[in-house]
Amino acid sequence: MKRRDFVGAGVAACVPLAFGDLALGVGGRRSRRAPWLLVPMDERQTNHLKAYGVLFRALKRGATGEWLLNYRGGSFLVSDDPVVLREAALDGVHVEPITASQEVDVRGTIAASNMDSVPLEKAPRVAVYVPPNTAPWDDAVTMALEYAGIAYDKVWDPEVLAGGLSDYEWLHLHHEDFTGQYSKFLLTASGSPWLREMVRVYERTAQALGFANPADLKKAAARAIRRYVEDGGFLFAMCTATETLGIALAAEDVDVAAAFSDGTPMDPDASARLNWERSFAFTGAALEPSPSVASFSDIDGHQVNHAVRRQPLGAFTLFNFSAKIDPVPAMLVQCHRNVIPDFYGLTTSFTRARLRPDVIVLAEEPGAPWVKYIHGNRGEGTWTFFGGHDPEDPQHQIGDPPTDLSLHPHSPGYRLILNNVLFPAAKKRELKT
């Protein structure tokens, strides 16, 4: 199935059904309970993040749902079911049983405004790309999935190279450095036990899978991930994974890794020799030549680890898309907040000048030369990149304790992550743009 093609019949089927109810729903029937529970996602919601989990698990059990784009902060309808009510109560998620006439009102409002209803049919199978060693930083997506109670599998290079990604509809990458340079921490964090362990695991894996070094292994993994997207997968990446995946793909036959990674220094002419056609989002970037500067290229606008180039954090603004014409980007930006405080990562943002022309910008810092959140298609699949490391820990440092999301149940940044997890559940229809 081509995942980014939404079948028009999906939404079309809902509307006549609703208006059919309207035709019947006069007089005493106004108080009849609708077969739906409304999960509002505006300020009345008591736990925005867990609401995604309640919905996801309901879909997994075979329930049906709808995503009401732009309606009360991007609310959901889900089949009225005692299990949903129980889970919502346990998770502190606010749900509203609605009457048939209220349902008609909701659908009428949606029909008359920049809103739309997207059917949610099947919970996607979720994979998170995680190395087996424990890195001293957290992964925002894993934490969001755990907190919301969304089941996922962990995959890494052996599974990816063995074609294991075809078992999943959704793949997440986080802090991985696909240039194989250990996030370029080798010189600044030398001697740290976690780094030694990382080098050992990466080198051993490369050897076991028949690669000369981790840099070659990572390039092969990047190519497998590209194939996964081209075959129809949904890719969501954050932090360094966004930038380094692009570089690794563009550098298929160019040495972009420092000597500490593959034994030879970076090709001095590497930037000029990159082929960005092979990559997802970026073009024309200049690589950072110094092995001791923990920055990869000028794709990242904030350059958090460079004393001179580092830029201060601002706030980013989500674009308001037409829900009826552009449902995919509209889904990805559903949020109860429009302006969100920025947060650092090894890759914090994406310089506008380095974006390919076909990239859809989902969020930007107005007036700044960078954007925060981008989306695009490749082959039959889609990719979404979100800069930064942890939306609720703007200055995240190596070794900081993981964020406790029970203290941030309304986090708008984490909501954007969960939009991506739910997005593949949407029923397919033909895109208009």
Binding site: R86, A89, L90, D91, G92, M143, E146, Y147, A148, G149, L187, S190, G191, S192, P193, A258, S290, P291, S292, P401, P402, T403, D404, L405, S406
Partner: protein
């Protein structure tokens, strides 16, 4: 008229540039008029090529304009004009390093070395430049070459820093020991650099520092041990290797005392006390007294009564005009005495010093001593000490006295009067919990309950729990549930999971729909969590959330449920 106007025009054309020239180039730079500032600096350098401040200003402006390249010709002239100026040489190096490659940088560094052969700066600058590019080995070679040529100890310090960066811990320790031998004030820098040594590499480095590197190595090792949470061992080392030099020893002792206290442990505070005690012996007059007071404070905070007393006995302060430091140290000391059960001694000291203590300190010490009397069951002495004190803190303590005597109505009156903020937060929370208990119990007098609650303060908690169960028997369902919940919580804290489970189940059964049921359910869930009975904990928490959705405990229960299910990190 026309002639006058054209004269004015000419005048303005001539005068305005002159005015611009008259403005300081620094002011132009501050105003962001960079091009004009650049012109002004250039004109200054045309007049005097050796004007270093103009050169530095031009560098700043050109950097911001992105035209650093045009600084070269001014630098060439400056170098020719004052070839032995360190500032000009450094600026020359910096510019070439920013604009050119390796070869040019090496040439400029060599010229600098040749023109000022005794200077360490060219070696340092070149090495830093290499290190910033990750070329640590080349950087270290440059410093080593400098060391061979001019033998300056400052280069040893740079070399040590580079060795740390390269994680060459053996060499780093060797070089730091040499640097500290030449300049003992570098001990702090050395220990800061070496404290990053990973755990498994520490033993050989410590061995080298303590056996092969002489006293300077021992000083470094002492500070390292303090930083690695072994301050007691650190103190033993330092005490055995203190120099006789009266100027060096105080510096080392102060540094070690600070490092030891950073651990925040009792051992660290005790080590700080010993270091300050030794420091006091090297000082005279008020400085020695201050060191002893600091030592007394450290010993008192560490719970070392003997140490604190030893220091305070030697402080020669007149109590009538005692210093603030002396009073603060004495306040800590009295509190420690009371907490350690030496109530008479604490009360005697308090009587002696009460007039000199800050009013807030005096109030808190009075409450502390009263508490100490309560713990010994000497309620009358506690009441006598507080007298007619009507502060919220005194009401709180009097409330506890009444509670433990079983005068529940009086206890309630005092707790109400104390309000929710008196004394420390933990005690205020316990007081609030007791007010809830008193509300449920609804009897004015119950000596057995009071005695059982006092029993929870001592070390026979199991007996107190049994007494609480007995005391609960003569109460109504709501009161019984409340007392049993308190008993269950106490048994749980004591680690007696079986009793806690039995008592809490009894509490729930005695009033299943009552106001204490959510609390008992929650306590029971925590008992299951700490016993590793996760499924039963989840069951209890779910039951609490679904059965008592309006209970104030629901958010707490959800949080614990998240933790038990592994949805949030354990912290």
């Amino acid at each position: 008229m026309r002639r006058v106007r054209s004269a004015l025009l000419v005048l303005s054309l001539v005068v305005l540039p002159e005015l611009a020239l008259a403005q300081s180039p620094l002011q132009l730079e501050r105003d962001g008029r960079l091009a004009e500032a650049s012109g002004a600096y250039r004109r200054a350098l045309d007049v005097d090529p050796a004007d270093v401040s103009a050169l530095l200003g031009l560098e700043r402006v050109l950097l911001r304009l992105g035209h650093l390249d045009s600084l070269r010709r001014y630098l060439t002239r400056a170098v020719r004009s004052i070839p032995t100026s360190e500032a000009v040489r450094e600026l020359h190096f910096r510019t070439v390093a920013a604009l050119d490659g390796d070869d040019s940088v090496a040439v400029v560094a060599a010229q600098w070395m040749a023109s000022i052969p005794t200077s360490t700066n060219p070696y340092r600058a070149w090495a830093q430049w290499l290190a910033s590019r990750g070329r640590l080995e080349e950087a270290r070679a440059v410093i080593a070459r400098g060391g061979e040529r001019i033998g300056d100890i400052r280069l040893t310090q740079y070399g040590a820093q580079l060795a740390v960066q390269a994680a060459d811990w053996d060499d780093a320790a060797r070089q730091w020991a040499r640097a500290v031998a030449a300049s003992p004030e570098l001990t702090a820098s050395a220990s800061t650099g070496l404290r990053r040594i990973p755990e498994e590499r520490r033993a050989p480095v410590l061995r080298f520092l303590t056996t092969e590197a002489g006293p300077p190595g021992t000083w470094i090792a002492a500070n390292l041990l303090a930083a690695w949470d072994r301050p007691g061992e650190g103190w033993s080392l330092l005490a055995s290797a203190l120099p006789n030099d009266e100027s060096q020893a105080p510096v080392l002792l102060r540094r070690f005392a600070d490092a030891a206290s950073e651990t925040g442990t009792s051992e660290g505070l005790r080590a700080r006390g010993f270091a300050l005690e030794r420091l006091a012996e090297l000082l005279r007059g008020p400085a020695a007294d201050r060191a002893r007071l600091d030592a007394a404070q450290a010993f008192a905070n560490a719970g070392s009564l003997a140490g604190a007393q030893r220091m305070l006995d030697r402080v020669s302060v007149d109590r009538g005009e005692s210093s603030r430091e002396a009073a603060a140290a004495m306040a800590t000391f009295i509190r420690v005495l009371a907490d350690a059960g030496q109530v008479e001694a604490a009360a005697n000291r308090f009587r002696e010093w009460e007039a000199q203590l800050a009013p807030r300190d005096a109030e808190r010490i009075r409450e502390t001593i009263a508490w100490a009397w309560i713990r010994r069951g000497e309620f009358a002495r506690g009441q006598a000490l507080l007298g007619s004190d009507s502060t919220p803190g005194a009401h709180a303590v009097l409330g506890w006295i009444a509670l433990y005597q079983g005068e529940l109505a009086t206890a309630r009156h005092h707790f109400d009067a104390a309000g929710p903020y008196a004394r420390e937060r933990a005690e205020a929370t316990r007081r609030a919990a007791m007010l809830v208990l008193l509300e449920r119990v609804q009897v004015a007098r119950h000596p057995a309950l009071g005695a059982a609650l006092l029993g929870l303060e001592g070390d026979k908690v199991s007996r107190a729990v049994a007494e609480l169960r007995q005391a609960a028997e003569r109460l109504g369902s709501s009161g019984r549930a409340a007392v049993l919940t308190v008993a269950g919580e106490a048994a749980s804290k004591e680690g007696d999971a079986a009793t806690a489970e039995a008592v809490l189940l009894e509490a729930i059964a005695s009033d299943p729909q009552g106001p204490m049921a959510p609390s008992a359910e929650y306590q029971l869930a925590t008992v299951y969590v700490s016993s590793g009975r996760t499924d039963e904990a989840i069951d209890r928490l779910e039951r609490l959330i679904l059965t008592y959705p309006r209970s104030a405990l629901v958010p707490q229960a959800r949080r614990l449920l998240d933790r038990v299910r592994g949805m949030v990190p354990n912290s």
